[in-house]
């Protein structure tokens, strides 16, 4: 069991409330995944200032000051934001430059997300405490995704937590388990993919990233995932301009979507949506099996 929540805001006046709303949603799915949690926030000015690229890192025992010192010479204007078990580094350079600089200067640190819009924060512990550690309630932005994890397939470490963000501004969270992930992992590795964990969900994220890199749009990429993957899944996948949901053919992993003119929200359970403004007037439905639901910014 895991918990998924996501919020795609259409109404700009709600952007300052993204973190507050996402925190409320995350806390409602705590019981579905009490061992760890993670969030991806799009457009927060602290983590992803306009004109800057951001890289999210698991620093291990490396301190924020050590990270800043290691990067300063190679990346002028770099800033390091401490978010507990995660650090977010941003600088007024392009994404590839910042990622390359981080990998060169800090080869032992794990990059867990990068982009112009997205910051990925994750860690092991009680989701409510992690939300406080991330200072999630203060976050602003136009889109956010969160996951609470009850591990079934791999270890409980920050690196094994969702979201898996393996392409620029991409993010995937998964409730379920893939049956044929080892086979698909071998194929992706043969195609040049490098994995950060032995988590089955990361295989889904790398597969989607490979389809997007091949030029398919998100909807087509998820249809291809349905054709190739065996197992149970409710997936919420986001990019810098899309928010998409898909469930496997059996659709036993729960999902409920609520949509209003102001926002689109998805959650494992309705109670995570109950606190959203205007939810009483929302169109509420459960996604059909193997049907891709996608919203564009």
């Amino acid at each position: 069991m895991c918990g998924i929540v996501g919020l795609h805001l259409r109404e700009p006046s709600l952007y300052p409330r993204l973190g507050e709303l996402l925190t409320g949603m995350l806390c409602q799915v705590t019981e579905r995944g009490p061992d760890s949690a993670g969030v991806a926030v799009y457009g927060d000015p602290r983590w992803s200032p306009p004109g800057h690229a951001s890289v999210s890192l698991l620093p291990g025992t490396t301190t924020p000051d050590e990270v800043a010192t290691a990067l300063r010479a190679a990346v002028p204007g770099v800033a390091v934001v401490d978010a507990g078990q995660t650090l977010v580094v941003h600088a007024p350079v392009d994404v590839d430059t910042l990622v390359a600089a981080v990998r060169t200067a800090l080869p032992d640190l794990l990059v867990i997300g990068s982009g112009e819009e997205v910051a990925v924060l994750k860690g092991v512990g009680h989701p409510q405490l992690l939300a406080a550690e991330f200072d999630l309630a203060q976050a602003q932005g136009w889109q956010g995704v969160a996951h609470t994890r009850m591990a079934t397939e791999s270890a409980v470490t920050p690196a094994h937590c969702h979201p898996f963000s393996v392409g620029t501004d991409q993010c995937l969270v998964h409730n379920g388990s893939f049956a044929n992930h080892a086979t698909i992992r071998r194929e992706l590795v043969a195609g040049g993919a490098v994995f950060d964990s032995d988590n089955d969900s990361e295989v889904g994220a790398r597969f989607v990233a490979a389809q997007l890199a091949a030029g398919y749009d998100l909807e087509k990429s998820l249809k291809l995932l349905c054709e190739r993957f065996d197992g149970f899944y409710t997936l919420l996948v986001s990019t810098k301009d899309s928010f998409a949901i898909v469930r496997d053919a059996i659709a036993c992993k729960p999902a409920v979507v609520a949509e209003t003119p102001e926002w689109v929200a998805m959650a494992s359970e309705y109670r995570a949506l109950a606190g959203l403004p205007g939810v009483e007037h929302a169109r509420i439905f459960e996604p059909e099996p193997e049907e891709v639901y996608a919203w564009q910014r």
Binding site: Q28, A251, C252, R271, F285, E286
Partner: protein
């Protein structure tokens, strides 16, 4: 019943017979414990629950002739194992509403999530909106009337009871069905293994009219088709031995 650590905050603003429980103040265990009191039907036959906000297991295991009105959306297993009580959800219901119901009536004014009425032995479940996947899975005698559509694998392995769908049915309707009877007014995306369309005889029109009336639905029984088990999966066929 274990004693409650804190007393249930029950308000009786309008009448002496309706108790109001606000779940933003009280918790579900307190509510359910109060509904399980041996003399609940004599003392407080009518209950109203406010601010359910999708909480799980509201009004489960009732065993008395009480009426419970829930003002809002509920989470998993609402009115599960219901016996004798009448539970109305003025909103949507999560997974497994009225699962394993024995008797009584459960009505969902909105939509129901997957596995509505799962394994239920008796009583009437009415979903005024649509029900998601696996509605009536392994039903064992319950009557289910759905105003809208039902999702895939509905009435899977149904053993007894009636499922009435005023809208459309999804894939694999009635898969591996034993003896439940299914009536669908709209289209059926596909029938499951061993489920076939059957003749609508006078007695079926009569029972359908009764079920629709009990559910308060105005649909015309003449517009429905009947589906049931072809009874080809009851026994192993020796002709299939080579497949194993």
């Amino acid at each position: 019943m274990a004693a409650l650590s804190t007393p249930l905050d029950v308000h009786e603003p309008n009448s002496t017979t309706e108790a109001v429980v606000d779940l933003s103040v009280s918790d579900v265990r307190q509510l359910n414990a109060a509904l399980h009191a041996p003399d609940v039907a004599e003392k407080v036959p009518s209950w109203r629950v406010t601010h359910p906000d999708g909480r799980h297991s509201i009004a489960v295991g009732l065993d008395a002739e009480v009426s419970v009105e829930i003002d809002g959306h509920v989470g998993y297993y609402c009115a599960g194992m219901n016996k004798s009580a009448t539970v109305t959800v003025h909103g949507n219901a999560g997974v497994g509403v009225a699962e394993n119901m024995m008797s009584g009536t459960v009505r969902v004014r909105g939509n129901a999530s997957q596995s509505a009425g799962a394994t239920a032995h008796g009583g009437l479940l009415v979903v005024e909106g649509s029900a998601a996947a696996r509605c009536g899975i392994s039903m064992k005698g319950v009557d289910i009337v759905v105003g809208g559509d039902v999702g895939h694998m509905s009435a899977f392995m149904g053993q007894a009871g009636r499922l009435v769908v005023c809208g459309d049915a999804g894939d694999a309707l009635g898969d591996s069905l034993y003896e439940a009877r299914i009536y669908v007014q709209g289209s059926v995306k596909s029938l499951g293994a061993d489920c076939i369309e059957k003749e609508m005889r006078a007695e079926h029109l009569a029972e359908l009219a009764e079920l629709l009336a009990a559910a308060g639905m105005s649909a015309d029984p003449a517009g429905f088709r009947r589906y049931g088990s072809a009874r080809q999966l009851y026994n192993f066929h020796v002709d299939n031995a080579s497949a194993y």
